[in-house]
Assembly symmetry: C2
Homo-oligomer: 89 residues x 2
């Protein structure tokens, strides 16, 4: 695949920061309240597999912003899954 | 941008189904418990703006799977934001 122009990649990078950062308050909330009750495990498991596939897709289409975003988001989703399984409620 | 080959788009479509569908149990859980307490509003607002930017990015790079995924996900994120604001807790 051809290289994605930098001006388009910038949109991707801003999107990457927002969708990645959006997981931080969720992780913080679970840590603070010591409760993952309101969070659906099913959601995060499906989401995690989906994000891994977006990462593979990003590699194939040479999208640096998708690769970085989905690598970070998959790690954050894993943290939430870990808490959910650990707290068990 | 050149057209993304169908075999790569298939990975994107599977990813799209998973990350879109992953929101359904969250919406169902909020509806069933009548509580959006465990869900972070900050997260979904940041996430919503991020998803809109991924939609714009998908349009620029001619990625049909990204366009469809982010259009659906943004609508589902809007439903969660609506519940969160309506239930207010």
């Amino acid at each position: 695949m051809e290289k994605i122009p930098m001006e388009i990649e910038i949109i991707g990078f801003i999107a990457a920061v927002l969708t990645s950062v959006s997981f931080v308050p969720q992780v913080y909330k679970i840590w603070k309240t010591k409760s993952a009750k309101g969070v659906s495990l099913t959601m995060f498991l499906l989401f995690f597999v989906g994000v891994i596939l977006w990462l593979v897709y990003g590699i194939f289409i040479n999208s640096l912003s998708m690769i970085i975003a989905n690598a970070i988001t998959s790690c954050l989703a894993l943290v939430i899954i870990y808490y959910k399984l650990k707290i068990k409620e």
